[in-house]
C-alpha cells in the first residue's frame, strides 16, 4: 500500500502514519520542516514502513502544493491513499484581535486545503481511483461562540468534502472527512480536556478503519458523533447562553 500524507510529523497525522508503517506501507511525507520530516521518516521506517520519502510542502505557500503532490506520487508509483491533517487552529479571541491571523487561518484551512484537495483529486483520477482523507473538525458542525471563525473554516471544508465525494464517486475516488473532537496532542497540552477526550492512537484506529471502508464521514473518538448530533439539535436560545 502506498500512502501520501501531509501532516505526518505531528499528533494524529503521526499516529496514522505509524499505523500504515506497521502495515509495511510505502509513505510519502509532505511537510515544511526538513529536519522534522527526516526524523519522522526515520521513525516510520523503524516501525516497519517499506519507504518514507520526504517532500517539501507548505500550505502557506500554495505554489508548493502541486509540485509536492507530483513528487510524492511519482516517488511512490501509485498512491492508494492521500491524507491531509495539517492546518491551523487559533482561539476566537486571538482571531478577533488579529485580522491578519484570521486571514491566514482561512487561507490555510480553506483555500490552501481546497487547492491541495483539487490537486490530489487529479492525482487519484489519473491513476483510476483511490482515497482522499482530510481532517476537518467537529467545530464545523454547529455555530458556537468559541469557534466562530475556526469553525466556519471547517464547516466550509466539510461541505466541500461532501460535495467532491459525490462528484468523484464515478471516478473511483472515495473521500473521507474526519471530524475529530478534543484529542490529547502537543497542541492541547495544558488545555482542560472536555469529557470524552481522545488520544491520537485511538483516533488513528478509527480513521484507518474509515479509510479501509471508504466511510464518507467519521467522528473520532466516535462518541463525538453522538455529541454533535445532540449539539446540533440544541435551540438557539440555549446556544446564546452556552459557553462551549
Amino acid at each position: 500500500m502506498n500512502v501520501l500524507i501531509l501532516g505526518a510529523t505531528r499528533g494524529m497525522g503521526r499516529a496514522l502514519a505509524r499505523k500504515y508503517a506497521a502495515r509495511g506501507a510505502a509513505l510519502a511525507l509532505l511537510g515544511r520542516d526538513a529536519e522534522d520530516l527526516q526524523r519522522t521518516a526515520a521513525d516510520l521506517v523503524a516501525r516497519g514502513a517499506s519507504a518514507a520519502v520526504q517532500v517539501a510542502c507548505d500550505l502557506e505557500k500554495t505554489e508548493t502544493i502541486l509540485p509536492a503532490l507530483h513528487t510524492g506520487s511519482t516517488a511512490l508509483g501509485r498512491v492508494d491513499v492521500i491524507v491531509l491533517t495539517a492546518g491551523i487552529y487559533a482561539s476566537q479571541e486571538s482571531l478577533e484581535a488579529s485580522p491578519d491571523l484570521t486571514e491566514k487561518l482561512l487561507r490555510v484551512n480553506l483555500i490552501a486545503t481546497i487547492r491541495f484537495c483539487e490537486a490530489a483529486r487529479e492525482v487519484l483520477a489519473v491513476q483510476g481511483g483511490g482515497t482522499l482523507c482530510v481532517f476537518s473538525s467537529v467545530a464545523g458542525d454547529r455555530g458556537r461562540k468559541p469557534v466562530a471563525i475556526y469553525g466556519a473554516s471547517k464547516a466550509a471544508l466539510s461541505h466541500y468534502l461532501e460535495s467532491i465525494g459525490y462528484r468523484d464517486h464515478e471516478r473511483g475516488i472515495k473521500v473521507v472527512c474526519v471530524k475529530p473532537g478534543f484529542v490529547h496532542t502537543d497542541m492541547t497540552a495544558g488545555l482542560k480536556p472536555p469529557p470524552f477526550a481522545g488520544d491520537p492512537d485511538a483516533v488513528a484506529d478509527v480513521v484507518i478503519r474509515a479509510i479501509d471502508r471508504g466511510t464518507p464521514v467519521v467522528y473520532a473518538p466516535r462518541i463525538w458523533g453522538l455529541m454533535m448530533a445532540l449539539i446540533k439539535r440544541l435551540p438557539r436560545a440555549f446556544m446564546r447562553r452556552a459557553k462551549f
Binding site: D43, R47, G87, I88, N109, F182
Partner: protein
C-alpha cells in the same frame, strides 16, 4: 567542550483538528506522581524538546515515578512533558542499537521490536515509562543480578543542561555528566534523546517457574540460588506476617523460552481493565490487605508451578489494570523501596521487615529482589544486596514509619530509591548517600543556579523552593 546549540526550526503551524473548545492558552492542570501526590501546574508537551526545553524547569515523562520526582518546585509550577516527543531516530538491526527521542515509551519499544526478536536489556515493572524516565531513574529489573541497571546499556544521552547548552554525553564524551545523568532524576539536564542497545531474544515468550516459600530465611536462600541459573528472578512476600512465617512468599523466576519450546504465534494483545474512579480510602485498610495477602499466597499453589507465560504477564502484571493507583483513593500511597547491602545479611532484611510490621506498615504489594553490582550512575539506586519494596497507603503515621525505616536502613548502610520516594527527609538522605556531594558538584558544573529542579530536589537537596 560544550557544542553549540542547534538551530531552532521555524515554529510549525498548530494542528487545528484537536480542539473543540475555545480555550487557547495553556491552563493549570493537575500534575501527579504515580502515588497520587500532586499539585496544580502548567504543563507543556512540545514535539521538539530542543526548543521546548529552553526555559523549562523540569521534564517529566509518563508520570510513573511514585513521589515528587516529576513534580516541579512550588515557586515555578511549570513542567515539560516529553510524551509528544516519541520518535525512533535510528535502529541498527545488526547491533540492536536504538536511538530515540526521550518520550518514546517502553510500551512502544516492545510493540515495535519484540515481534522482530528484540527486547530491552533491562525493563522495570511497568511498560508505561519513557526512555528519558528510564535513564533519569536508572531503572532496574528482574535481571539486575546479572545485567545491572538500564544505565549500563545506555551508550549516549542528549541533554539540555541548566546553563542552556545542548550536550551529548557518553562514556567517552562528558563522562562525569553521563554518570550523573544515569539515576540523576532528571536534575543534570533535560533528557532529549537516548541511545541504548536492544538485546536479541530467542522468542517473545517466557519460560517460568513459581515457588511457594514458607519463611524469610528460605526465601533469601532460594533467591540467591536461583540467581545463578535464572536471568529473571523476583519475589513477592507477605510482609504482614509475623513470627516464623515472616517473609513467606512466592518466588518467580524465568527466562526467554527457546524457540523450540515457545508457541509459534506472537503473544496476543492483552485486554486491560481500567479503575474508573478513586476508590474510597477504606479499600486499602489493613484487614483488606491481610486478606489479599493470604489469598494470593494460597492461590499461588493452585497455578501451574512452571510453564510458558505471556511476556507482559511476566514482566508487567500490574499493567493489566490501568490506573490501579486509584485503588488507594485520594490520599494515595507511597512505595518504600530500599536496598539492604549484602554485608547486612538476612538479619538486615529481617530488621527492615520487623520495623515495617511492628509499625503497622500494611502492604499488599511487597516485592523482594536481589541486586547485583553497583552501576555507573553517580546516584543510581542499586547496590549488591537485597531490595525491598512495599506499597504503603498514605496515612497520618506514614512519615513516622518512613523515618523509622530510614533510621534502620542508615544503620545497615543501605539507601532508598528516589523514583519511589516522597517521605525521606533531607538529613536521612544525606546520611545514606555519601555520593551526594559528587553528584551536586557535577550538577553545579552545568547548572550553577539550579535552574532545573524538582519538588524532590527541593526536599532532599536544598534547592530553591
Amino acid at each position: 567542550m560544550k557544542p553549540p546549540e542547534r538551530h531552532e526550526p521555524d515554529p510549525v503551524p498548530r494542528d487545528p483538528t484537536s480542539a473543540i473548545a475555545g480555550a487557547a492558552s495553556p491552563a493549570w492542570t493537575d500534575v501527579r506522581g504515580w502515588g497520587r501526590l500532586g499539585m496544580r501546574a502548567i504543563e507543556t508537551a512540545p514535539q521538539d524538546l530542543i526548543v521546548g526545553s529552553r526555559h523549562a524547569v523540569l521534564t517529566r515523562g509518563l508520570g510513573r515515578s511514585y513521589g515528587d520526582a516529576s513534580l516541579p518546585p512550588a515557586s515555578r509550577p511549570e513542567v515539560m512533558s516529553t510524551r509528544a516527543a516519541d520518535r525512533i531516530l535510528a535502529f541498527d538491526p545488526s547491533t540492536g542499537v536504538l536511538r530515540a527521542e526521550a518520550g518514546l515509551s517502553l510500551r512502544s519499544v516492545n510493540a515495535v521490536f519484540m515481534r522482530r526478536g528484540w527486547f530491552p536489556p533491562v525493563t522495570p515493572g511497568t511498560q508505561y515509562v519513557t526512555l528519558g524516565g528510564m535513564v533519569a531513574a536508572d531503572v532496574h529489573g528482574k535481571n539486575h543480578h546479572v545485567d545491572g541497571g538500564f544505565g549500563e546499556h545506555v551508550s549516549r544521552v542528549l541533554l539540555r543542561t541548566g546553563d542552556g547548552h545542548v550536550v551529548e554525553c557518553s562514556r567517552q564524551s562528558n563522562p562525569s555528566l553521563f554518570a550523573a545523568t544515569l539515576g540523576g532524576m532528571g536534575l543534570t539536564g533535560h533528557i532529549l534523546e537516548v541511545e541504548f542497545a536492544l538485546r536479541p531474544i530467542p522468542s517473545p515468550w517466557i519460560q517460568h517457574e513459581t515457588l511457594r516459600i514458607p519463611d524469610l530465611g528460605a526465601f533469601l536462600e532460594q533467591l540467591s540460588a536461583s540467581a545463578a541459573h535464572w536471568p529473571f528472578t523476583v519475589g513477592w512476600i507477605d510482609c504482614l506476617k509475623r513470627g516464623a512465617a515472616m517473609g513467606r512468599g512466592v518466588l518467580i523466576r524465568g527466562r526467554f523460552a527457546d524457540a523450540s519450546r515457545a508457541p509459534r504465534s506472537s503473544p496476543p494483545e492483552i485486554s486491560r481493565l481500567r479503575v474508573p474512579f478513586d476508590a474510597p480510602n477504606v479499600v486499602m485498610r489493613d484487614g483488606v490487605m491481610r486478606t489479599l495477602n493470604a489469598v494470593y499466597y494460597a492461590t499461588r499453589g493452585l497455578r501451574p508451578a512452571a510453564g510458558i507465560e505471556h511476556p507482559e504477564k511476566f514482566f508487567y502484571p500490574l499493567d493489566a489494570l490501568l490506573d490501579w493507583n486509584r485503588l488507594y483513593g485520594r490520599r494515595g500511597f507511597t512505595q518504600y523501596q530500599c536496598v539492604v547491602p549484602r554485608a547486612a545479611g538476612p538479619d538486615g532484611v529481617e530488621r527492615m521487615l520487623r520495623v515495617l510490621t511492628d509499625r503497622g506498615g500494611s502492604s499488599f504489594l511487597c516485592v523482594i529482589k536481589d541486586c547485583g553490582a553497583e552501576g555507573l550512575g553517580t546516584l543510581s539506586f542499586p547496590m549488591p544486596g537485597i531490595s525491598i519494596a512495599a506499597d504503603l497507603p498514605v496515612r497520618p503515621q506514614t512519615q513516622a514509619l518512613v523515618d523509622a525505616l530510614n533510621e534502620t536502613l542508615i544503620a545497615l548502610g543501605g539507601r532508598v530509591y528516589l523514583a519511589k520516594d516522597s517521605f525521606t527527609r533531607a538529613e536521612h538522605f544525606r546520611a545514606m548517600e555519601p555520593r551526594l556531594p559528587r553528584f551536586l558538584a557535577e550538577r553545579a558544573r552545568w547548572d550553577r543556579e539550579r535552574r532545573i529542579r524538582s519538588a524532590l530536589s527541593v526536599r532532599l537537596m536544598g534547592d530553591p523552593p
